[in-house]
Point group: D2
Chain length 379, copies 4
């Protein structure tokens, strides 16, 4: 089977967002409702303005299924836009700072940022979430769980997120901020309210954790095989992301080596075990069997009520930047996007390890690899 691949299309106010997912094995049960759950989660979160609340995305699966089972052929997913007005919306001559507007106008040689912002918009992540949800479904069928959650919002930081991943998810579900820490959730509410008051916006930091991955996924034969680089690249391709780290991340650059690496000790049964997981589950570009842990930093929304300066490109005069929406913080919702792109990259390395055309084949081989890892040194 060819490599897992996601191709998206769609504008913010066009007819629909579309995603084609290549390389999903045959025989996977995939109800549209599985994907819809991710789309719903992508649209909720304290701090979102009007549009998000009234939208309620639903996926239509146009290809790749017979009944609710994948065929091994490409999945085509369509998420219709309720606000399909692209042909009527006005031109935009005031490029917004922090957006694609101005560089995009210069790239395409147009004085109308509408031609840019329609595709550059974070609305596109609906397609990435739909595609990532498919990957998450595959991982789920193989016993691998992925969860994204908010760990910082503005200057509010949650307590370190520890414990079983299923439990983290349960706690996350109780929070309007997709944050597993109830105290932080309260402080985040206050921070958002204050920012709304002052017409400002807030960013945040999202953590994604994956549990159940065997060692040896990813690789180092070519630089492009390295899982950490693939995750970092995928996460920084999400709109508004300005940084990413794996495990201890930037902190590890400031600590001595003796406090950074994860020692290897006997597990008492002939194998090995890790007392710590500072590396975020990735060593040498591969999973090492511990939970994969990554964090991504999202800048505040670039459309402020308290407007930023811009220029009307027809007149050259200084103006307020055009405002397209009025959310205060999108980081809670972006945690779903981050979760989905991580799931997608992880599904890719799983399938690189297993090859195969059907879920049965993939499952058998992954289990064989798990066993082989478990037994390699036990002789």
């Amino acid at each position: 089977m060819a490599a897992l691949r996601l191709t998206t299309a769609g504008e913010s106010h066009g007819p629909a967002l579309v995603a084609i997912v290549d390389g999903v094995p045959a025989g996977l049960e995939l109800e549209p409702s599985w994907i819809d759950a991710y789309l719903v989660r992508r649209q909720k979160g304290y701090g979102s303005g009007g549009r998000m609340r009234i939208e309620s995305d639903r996926v239509e699966i146009l290809a790749g299924l017979r009944g609710t089972t994948t065929l091994g052929s490409p999945l085509a997913l369509r998420v219709p836009n309720k606000d399909h007005t692209i042909d009527r919306l006005p031109a935009v001559h005031r490029p917004r700072p922090g957006h694609a507007d101005l560089p995009g106008m210069l790239k395409y040689g147009t004085d109308d940022a509408r031609n840019i912002l329609e595709r550059a918009s974070a609305r596109e992540t609906a397609a990435r979430v739909a595609g990532g949800a498919v990957a998450a479904r595959l991982l789920d069928a193989l016993g691998i769980r992925v969860a994204g959650y908010l760990v910082e919002l503005g200057d509010v930081a949650a307590a370190p997120v520890v414990g079983e991943l299923d439990d983290v998810v349960r706690r996350r579900e109780l929070s309007a901020f997709q944050c597993p820490d109830p105290e932080a959730t309260e402080a985040m509410t206050a921070a958002v309210d204050a920012a709304r008051e002052s017409g400002d916006t807030l960013g945040g930091i999202i953590e994604v954790r994956a549990h159940g991955l065997p060692p040896g996924l990813g690789g180092f034969a070519q630089p492009e095989d390295r899982l950490d680089g693939r995750l970092a690249g995928a996460l920084c391709r999400i709109q508004a992301m300005k940084g990413v780290e794996v495990g201890q991340g930037f902190a590890s650059a400031r600590l001595p080596g003796s406090e950074v690496h994860d020692e290897i000790v006997p597990d008492g049964e002939g194998g090995t075990r890790r007392p710590t997981n500072r590396s975020g589950g990735i060593e040498g570009g591969m999973t090492n069997g511990e939970d994969v842990v990554v964090r991504v930093a999202m800048k505040p929304l670039a459309s402020l009520r308290r407007s930023l300066r811009s220029v009307d490109v027809r007149t050259g005069e200084e103006v307020d930047a055009a405002r397209q929406r009025s959310d205060v913080c999108a980081a809670p919702r972006a945690s779903v996007v981050a979760e989905c792109v991580v799931a997608f990259e992880l599904a890719r390395v799983v399938l690189e390890k297993t090859g195969g055309d059907s879920l049965a084949e993939v499952h058998t081989r992954l289990e064989a690899h798990r066993r082989a890892c478990d037994e390699l040194f036990r002789a």
Copy 2:
């Protein structure tokens, strides 16, 4: 012309490192000495142990040139290994924490980490530096400069690096740490000496800055087009990197929107200008005409004199991890690697914008794009 692409091969103690660079336009002047200057820089830096000092890498260009001019055909670069002993070196049964050793053994099903560490070694970056130096040569011919330098080492931080990029490079050249701040350089020396004393290792943070890029390089049509994600992916594919950020990076997640985005103001001549560059020169996945600024966090070397615990996989007994070398800090040298991978990604987006087969064609088109950007809004 097809896309710019780098393919590397080579083991740490094999005959040679090899790189093939596809997609370099014809007509570029390329002396081997240009590449050698990068290879030399990759091998020097306070804190490096014995092996680095005696090596002195030299590139041999096996293909792609006639005289010293590129033909448009693939460049093949060979960097011979002086220590070509792979067939005689012993098996390694004590996987080193923080290295590819253990996950690699499980991936390939071997109890000998020698089969893993030879390719996973950072020695491979010699090929990436050689390839990146070619990209830097192309950028240089187009008026674009890229420089990497150390801004933190362990808990020592340099003053913010400001000023003309050429001046930054001059200051960097005076430092044994590739750090443009002389005071920080002094503190770094002390930090390395102390770490060496205690048998520990140190990491650091590298900044790479690029000057002279027109707006509109990169893109947002597909997530994979986004320049920030491509840079983040490329940087986190370098051995030992655990985090990356663009512009203000993680700090921007903690600031209000009004302090994060770069306003757009009239330049007084009918065009626009940016009073700040908090975004690191990238908005919406594209260059915006300001300097591109990225930072990458390197963990301390994983091979400590003060050894970490490991397991002898043949016996299952706890042992000291095998030590392969005794440097204290590789971050100064890694700044060259970071510079080179950034140069490579930037050359890729330049060539995506220009297309073309010869340097003349590329140059003409890039200049036309610069002019078009300059004139678009001036009527």
Copy 3:
């Protein structure tokens, strides 16, 4: 701009065929009716059975346009299936010879060929035609025309197709077989009637010609750059194609060199000209400025009324192969598919030469290349 790329999805009896076309420059006028004209042509042709006649495909453009102008973002095309019954259609346990059925069942480990034939079906070419029509639109805007037509059907061969391409197209439009030769058209009618009578099927040979391509598109730097290989690969990826040739093709293997190559002579104005075009417009993997001419051989339909032997895989007993449809010959219709995949590959090499993000940029650069070719040797 990233490379031109076509991704398709869709089953024969699923909700829709879907295509995403990446890499189309901004600013191209694209009416859905342009694509529909290709879809209609794909469905007509003497020899087609019932289903083709009642279908009348219409494209819906879900993404990539504002009004009727491309944005530079991916185009998403949807061609709904009128016969959307995949979830109700019965299992198929009698794999049909000459189809994907049996190898597909073994690939995916299923005893139901329905899971295979839905995607393997030539119905998928509706998506390739839609995508190829977009490429043809781009080429058209750049002064490049592509036309496919039938030159053989069973044992009937048309006279060699010569003359201006526009005139060839006019003659093709008069033929129920998409064949520019009226006498051959008559003989083809008789051949199809006879085959229908005997319950048999027929194949044919399609020629595709492209006019208006400047020299130097494609390349030889890597084998993958070669245009002839790309065209051959694209054509043999169409269902039922068993052979392809460029220019004189197989005949050139049987002639002496003095009768195969196209001499280069002065054009009387300081440049060069070719008295012949035996090479089909491609030398050294590149266009040479002459018309590109390729031919592809299509086997007869594999579903015969006069049935072939197969096995019921549940019982192991010999049976008649299941019949899914009753056309006699699909080669006339396949000529549109061939035309479209050739247009797509040609648009790719054009965009590799020009780079750029907007049609204006592409057009300016292509014209500059044409001029440069014209003037290079005129001093």
Copy 4:
């Protein structure tokens, strides 16, 4: 493991040809002599002129091995050029018909065809043969054999090649034309002698057959997955190839369906069997378990002693085309190139089916797939 991929570099008179082969599993025994045997075979054949005879290519493996075992890391292969004079060879102002010379000059904007012909030369196939030999080694370790041989030369055609593939190879080895038919070999000798006499050149047709492939390799999920298209593309990327066909190829377009498709009949043990192999072992873009059979048509050498007309591009005057060499026929040697590129594509689809990182993993999975194919319908 990432996809199998071949990247080549090198000019005809540069220092060396270089190939990097990515994606070869670890644990494969690979002696340089295995590759050398292919390189030697590429250089012999009746009809070759002087240069071929004195050359004797030898590969040097620069990376990817420990001892003679692959590590799973990229293999770097170097084939030094004995005639390394690229910097001293004169400019070429008389582009040769049938070569890359003229379109290449227009592509790169140069009046010196030396800049073109050095890379466009068929000398490059030495790298493809080296890379393909690695793929053939892998296939061999998995019980799959591939052989290329000449079936036509000019107007001489060999008898249809039937029988066990090992026997075909034995007969081929006895022929100076890599042709398994001794009578045809004799006639080919006469044809070459006559052509040499008249200063002309000859082309030929090569057949490649592969034995031992299980069903279900390749695919149809995306057009790019189809094995027939991949083989056709790879073969037509070889210098001088003008056509390709699979199985009955062009003949199948001229026969009725009842004489083209391969019926499926009970094998008497609960499974199925094919009485014929007209399809060349590929149905629906996948192997069907029969031998894969493809043919490729090579045009006569474009450098004739009896020279073709050209133009001196500096003066615009008609001249004789520059002659670079004086072979009569390269088709026998090209059969090795064709064999190697087919082996490479087949190894790719095998690895897509199996995934995995080590030969043991690949082997286990391929055998399991063979068994599953054998048992699927036997219940």
